[in-house]
Symmetry: C2
Subunit: 112 residues, 2 copies
DNA sequence: CAACCATGACCTAATTATAGGTCATTAGAG
DNA sequence: CTCTAATGACCTATAATTAGGTCATGGTTG
C-alpha cells in the first residue's frame, strides 16, 4: 500500500521544519549525544527523534520543541528567561487588539 | 473521566509553544483574518487553528508552521529566500560532523 | 581488517490528533 | 441597547502519530 500524501504544505513551511530538524541534528552531534540519549531525556522514542530530525511534518510540536531544548537549541531567544518576558509582551499586545475579527470589513476590502 | 496529562514537558518548551501561538494570534488579528479564514487557507479545521493559537503541545508541527506562514509569521528569517540558504548551510555543517556519535566517549566525559 | 554500535527503516498495537458538527458566550457594529 | 457573527468549548468517528520492537546498513574505534 503506497503511503498517501495526506496534506499539502507550502514550501516555506516544509523548509522551516526541515531546517529545524537539521539544526537539532547538528546541535545533538556537537554535544556528542546519541539519538537514544535524546529520546530518553525527552521521554519519547528513538524513532520519533529520528523523524523530527528528518523534518517530518506530522510530528507533534511539543515533542519537537522539547527535543530542540534538550540539545540546547533556543528557538526564540538565547536566554530562556527572556522567553517569559516575550510571553507577557505578546499577551499585552493581544490585549490591545480586538478580541474578535469582523469579516465584514475584510470582505469589502477584498471585494474588488 | 478526567483528562490525563499524557506527557511532561519542560517549562521552556511549553512557553516556546505558547509564545508561538500568541504570535500567531496577534499576527492573525493584525491582518484582520478570522480563525475560519486561516483554517480554510491552511486546509485544516477551525478547531485546530484554535488549539495551535492556544499553544497545545500535541498539534502537528506542520500544521502549526503552515498556519504561522499564512498569517505572515517568519520564524527563522525575515526573507523566505534566506531560509533555503540556511538549509544548505546546515547541511554543509552536518557534512563536517561525524555521522554517528559514540556514547563511549560521552560516558567518559560525564564520568566524574 | 574486524568488532561494535549508532543509525535508519520497517512493522504492529495502542494512543492520540484531527475534522466537522453543534452550542453557549461574547465582542463589535448599527 | 440589539443584532450579528466570531470565538471557544465540546462531542464522535476517522485518520494519524507514537511506542517499542526488530533488522540491515554503515560508520567508528581498536
Amino acid at each position: 500500500m503506497a503511503k498517501l500524501a495526506y496534506r499539502s504544505y507550502s514550501r516555506y513551511s516544509r523548509e522551516a521544519v526541515a531546517l529545524l530538524g537539521l539544526m537539532i541534528r547538528n546541535a545533538r552531534i556537537e554535544r556528542d549525544m546519541t539519538v537514544a540519549d535524546v529520546a530518553e531525556r525527552a521521554g519519547t522514542s528513538r524513532g520519533l527523534v529520528h523523524r523530527i530530525e528528518k523534518g517530518e511534518m506530522g510530528s507533534s510540536i511539543g515533542a519537537a520543541f522539547e527535543v530542540a531544548a534538550i540539545v540546547g537549541l533556543r528557538l526564540f531567544e538565547a536566554e530562556p528567561a527572556t522567553l517569559t518576558r516575550h510571553l507577557s509582551m505578546e499577551r499585552d499586545k493581544l490585549a490591545l487588539l480586538p478580541q474578535s475579527v469582523r469579516t465584514g470589513t475584510t470582505k469589502v476590502k477584498d471585494d474588488f
